[in-house]
Amino acid sequence: MISADPGIWIAAFFTIAATSYVFRDNPAFKFAEHTFVGCAAGYSVAWNLTQLQRVGLTPMMERGIYTYLIPIVLGLTVYFQYSTEYRWIARYGVAFMMGQGIGMALRAKMREDFIMQLRATVTPLDSALGIVIFILVITGALHFVFTVKRVESEPFRTLTIIGRYGILVALGASFGNTVMTRLGQYQGRMIFLIRDWLGLVA
């Protein structure tokens, strides 16, 4: 039994409009896309203003944490990038954001992306699995060496070629998984259209 819920009908319209783009760009898609960009911007404004009030302003007023003025002022400096003369003031907010962001993103990489990965590979070469991983890691690592001329001559050159083919097989596996991702995502929409909207299936 076809759905009577207006919300489901709106959702069905947007599902079809967003799909139509694949066949040909058309007004329904343009309308859908501008709606999507607009409401995403709209709810992020509402969300962040709510957070600013709950996390920043209320504690500052009620618990007297006036140091919260510092991040608020830093945040406002960013708007000076619109002025040509005082553009440099915006650098204060950006500098704080970049320092905090880069420092946070940088700090664990040595351990988790290098040391721990090395440790996971210095395991006994007593299984076919372990040996293949070992070969792929050392050939793959050589493939990304760009500033050492010695690595471009034998025997390293062959190892780097093996490394590149290993990487291509791995990328193929990743591609295969991406097929499942994208098809699975649209599958969900198809179930919505046939079951929730048209009610052709229980």
Partner: protein, 210 residues
């Protein structure tokens, strides 16, 4: 004095805050962690003050409406109405209200889900049109993709468990080994970029180097 304010002091802020984050990770020093927690709280509040993306959007589409760009201005006008509606109703009703959930579930979710999902069609035409075995490299890539897709399709492992084993073996060997080699670079390259930024050698984000 104003020259120091323009560049050296912002770079110093980036370095000091960046090093605070790094040192807090390696050393258990209560005062350091307390400062770090405060800076994180400030970062959340600062984030909630910055609406540049929405402002740029309003400027861009506002200009299109003012100029009455043919075939575009009414879409831009609608976009501005959408920003206003979702922003105001989000504050009036509350972003956690059931009314707002209705607006999200019936507009945003179908749009967001379907736009990404429609990439499935590009993958289908891509598979047919451009995924050709042109050389050994693309051949290996396609063979591996083929075996993984078969392993991911319950129809095949249900007939012969070996298909699932082949798929899992490809992941447990090629993907682990090769992506670990790739991850070395992501990690070390990320550290190099991070250090360059903290010491002020990489200031792309501050606009061109004067």
């Amino acid at each position: 004095m104003s020259e120091i304010l323009k560049r050296p002091i912002p770079l110093l802020i980036t370095f000091v805050v960046g090093m605070l984050m790094v040192l807090e990770y390696f050393f258990t020093v209560p005062a350091l962690t307390a400062t770090y927690d405060t800076v994180n709280t400030w970062r959340v509040i600062l984030y909630a003050c910055v609406y540049l993306g929405t402002i740029n959007l309003l400027l861009l589409h506002g200009r299109r409406v003012m100029r009455r760009d043919p075939g575009q201005w009414y879409y831009s006008a609608w976009l501005i109405v959408m920003i206003a509606a979702y922003a105001v109703l989000g504050l009036v009703w509350g972003v956690d209200s059931m009314n707002y959930r209705w607006m999200i579930d019936n507009v945003d979710v179908p749009l967001g889900a379907t736009m990404y999902a429609s990439l499935a069609f590009y993958m289908a035409s891509g598979a047919y049109r451009v995924m050709k075995v042109r050389n050994l490299g693309t051949g290996l890539l396609l063979l591996s993709a083929f075996l993984v897709i078969i392993g991911n399709t319950p129809l095949f492992p249900a007939t012969w468990e070996g298909f699932a084993t082949i798929r899992n073996t490809i992941f447990d060997t090629f993907v682990v080994g090769s992506y670990r080699a790739i991850r070395f670079g992501v990690g070390l390259g990320g550290i190099a970029l991070g250090i360059r930024t903290l010491v002020g050698l990489e200031t792309g984000y501050m606009g061109r180097r004067e």
